[in-house]
């Protein structure tokens, strides 16, 4: 969809990675980078809110009492590894090897599901202990910040599942390559956001 061109067919430029090969592809990748920059700001507001409210526990459990080190470290490792495998999938895509690409893609999805599953059980445990969203401003900010990230990850999983079907159906083309690349940007970005949740919420919560 290169609306600028008077050409008969959208040209495929072989000198650049496949995802950038069509005009439309490079427009969409730029658009998505810009969206990620906007998402940085969205998360920064949630972080600011959490930082301002983190000590307002109103007699409820504090971060120190609540967080469980093995639990959040495991979540972190799952997400870090999934970011790595997602990178490998794109690496294989650039080498035009469909089978390994799909393999790493599926591993990434499974690791993502593992992460979301652990997060849900973590939330369920807190709620079971009476530490729910209505207990204190600290907990409200915690659930909303971490939950927003979890929602992003969940959407990412559904997105990648949809792309899995398209990869199986069409193979690696300029269009599927662009779509997979954009999804991988999203996935790595969520990993980066999690690192800050790990640091600002969990580690800082344990230290103070």
């Amino acid at each position: 969809m290169a609306y600028q061109l008077d050409a008969h067919h959208a040209p495929v430029d072989s000198s650049v990675p496949l995802e950038y090969a069509t005009e439309d592809g490079s427009l969409k990748i730029l658009g998505f980078w810009i969206f990620l920059a906007a998402d940085v700001v969205l998360f920064s507001c949630l972080f600011a809110t959490y930082i301002v409210l983190q000590h307002n526990t109103y007699g409820g459990p504090t971060a120190q009492q609540l967080f469980d080190v093995p639990g959040f470290v495991t979540e972190t490792l799952l997400l870090l590894t999934s970011s790595f495998t997602c990178g490998l999938a794109i690496f294989e895509m650039h080498r035009n090897r469909l089978q390994p690409m799909i393999g790493w893609w599926i591993v990434t999805i499974l690791l993502g599901m593992g992460f979301v599953g652990m997060e849900i059980s973590e939330f369920a445990k807190y709620v079971g202990e009476g530490a729910n969203i209505t207990r204190s401003a600290f907990l409200s900010a915690f659930f909303i910040l971490v939950g927003t990230h979890g929602t992003h990850v969940t959407i990412g999983i559904f997105w990648m599942l949809g792309l899995l079907v398209q990869l199986l159906r069409y193979g690696i083309t300029a269009i599927t390559a662009r779509k997979a690349f954009v999804a991988s940007l999203y996935w790595h970005f969520l990993d980066a956001v999690w690192i800050f949740i790990f640091t600002v919420v969990y580690l800082t919560g344990k230290v103070s």
Partner: protein
Amino acid sequence: MTTHSDVNPSHGATLPSDPKAHHETFPWKHILGFVLSLVLTFAALGLVLSAALPLTAVIVSIVVLAVLQLLVQLLLFMHLTERHGPATHVLTLVFGFFVAFTIVAGSAWIMFTFHATVA
């Protein structure tokens, strides 16, 4: 930013490429990134659990480690430096970080000092 219009590849070679990056047969960059991210994560965890440093020093160090991890993701996984046309996405991202920093630091400053209006 480029001074040429980059809308039409047929007008000239305005889409520079890095052919080297796409002929690698082993994902060195990704493995390096993964190892670095593990090292940085456990370094931060160790700092917190060992409680060897004073509180402020710990918080500053783990935030620095987190920023390093962000760079690992951006540079080694997200192909941030691959340029196909102007580096608009880098500029946008940098401005995004500026705004994010302003929001977090500004909010903390405002909200933590607002009881102190009278002496």
